[in-house]
């Protein structure tokens, strides 16, 4: 059923693998036996109607569902071959390696500088002030925000515009040098210009991190991703190259959804 792109000899092993992942909230199944690979240097988009399980699935990849008492996760999820649900896995460490950006920009009510410096400091990633400052500048530069904020680093992060706040959150996520970045509808609260900036940023970050993005905006999925996975009613219906999914989907349900015939 799941048409995953056939691996070729030259392709590196996937950054993350999920096999037969099931998630239930209480006795309600949210994800039903989903298997998928998250590849290095690629953007994978998760699309599907509300309640299809795409966000739930995204959140299993850095164990954000652990914070929900009724959520139970079964199956096998690995980061570089390492079981992320194994008892010896340090969840804080995991979330540094698998960063997350949320729908609504959520900067800390602290200065722009502190928003970015916080992560590297608690993870002990910078030795001394100079190194921390370099990390902050590098992260803000990669997030495409440095030129806009370099003269006002001590201003509050919450004083920035929505689009700037979201880029600040991306800078905060990449400051701890993650390997995978998960984005849960990162542009749905932003205007088209701010959205375009985030999309351009995703293109630039692609060579450095594996990126998984959940989006309701199918044009956005088409624009930013190389792989697209379509979820419906908790199952993975179709997974393949984005150009194929949007021009010639194989499954009837995918076709109905992306052409606007769903429901």
């Amino acid at each position: 059923m799941i048409a995953s792109p056939s691996p070729t000899a030259t392709m590196p092993p996937p950054k993350m693998t999920a096999r037969d992942v099931c998630v239930a909230y209480g006795d309600k199944t949210a994800i039903d036996h989903v298997s998928i690979d998250i590849e290095q240097d690629r953007v994978i988009a998760f699309i599907g109607p509300s309640g299809c399980g795409k966000s739930t699935f995204l959140r299993t990849l850095n164990r954000m569902n652990d914070t929900i008492a009724s959520a139970r996760v079964a199956g096998d999820i690995r980061l570089d071959g390492q079981d992320i649900y194994a008892p010896e896995m340090d969840v804080v460490q995991l979330r540094a390696r698998v960063g997350m950006v949320f729908q609504k920009p959520n900067p800390f009510p602290k200065s722009i500088y502190e928003n970015v410096a916080y992560g590297p400091r608690i993870h002990g990633l910078a030795r001394g002030k100079a190194e921390l400052e370099a990390t902050v500048e590098r992260s803000l530069t990669r997030a495409g925000l440095w030129n806009e904020v370099k003269d006002r680093l001590s201003d509050s992060g919450t004083a920035l515009s929505g689009g700037q706040q979201q880029r600040l959150c991306i800078a905060r996520a990449i400051a701890v040098d993650p390997e995978v970045i998960l984005m849960d509808e990162p542009c749905s609260a932003l205007d088209p210009i701010a959205t375009a900036k985030i999309e351009e940023l995703i293109h630039e970050l692609r060579g450095r991190y594996a990126i998984a993005i959940v989006t309701h905006n199918m044009q956005q999925a088409a624009r930013v991703s190389q792989r697209t996975a379509f979820f419906h009613l908790g199952t993975l219906v179709e997974y393949g190259a984005t150009s194929d999914i949007f021009t010639n989907p194989r499954q009837e349900r995918t076709k109905d959804y992306i052409t606007g015939r769903y429901g």
């Binding site: 949007f246 021009t247 989907p249 992306i258 052409t259 015939r261």
Partner: protein, 233 residues
Amino acid sequence: MNEHTVKAFDADIVQLRGLISQMGGLAEEAIAESLQALQRSDLARAEQIRAADKAIDAIAAQVEQLAVQIIALRAPMAVDLREVVAALKIASVVERIGDYAKNIAKRVPLIDGEHRIEPVSILPAMGRMAADMVRGALDAFAARDIQAAMRVRESDVALDDFYDSIFRTLVTFMVENPKTITQVAHLLFVAKNLERIGDHATNVAEMVYFAATGTRMAERDRGNREGEATWRA
């Protein structure tokens, strides 16, 4: 196919398909009319065909405008996108078919009505075959029928054979009676135009197949025409 959640999208697609059918009907009519005008040396009708071609061109422009509008405003995906792209290409191909019919009509006053040679009478049969292919391809588009599209392509082989036999006959006329050369040269172009119309109808059929399936018709199904096409340049 299910309806779109946004009903206006369906209305746009219906309008686009309607325009294609309309211009296809006009082109098909122009082919039949041009050959009748040729056969009867009907100069008035030939002139009408030349004027009617402007209507086909106008619809082609309308299709182009509507297709661009649908792409811009509806952002069609998958089968919808393929259908809009197919409609765009089909419109320009049908416009071309209309041009070939117009070209046949233009030759009517150039062919001597008094001393017409016998092959003039078999050209309408070839014209019917070409017009049938055009109708078949457009019916296949209207019905999204890939089997019908495949049949159109198969019949192109028969049309090519028809052209080959007319070509040989006309060359024989020129060899036997050099006085017929001017007339025969025009008839050769008429036959060639009909042969090209068949090729264009085949292109339409291939677009129908692509729109419906997302893949191109397999090359091996196109018949081995290249190897035997010694007469055609």
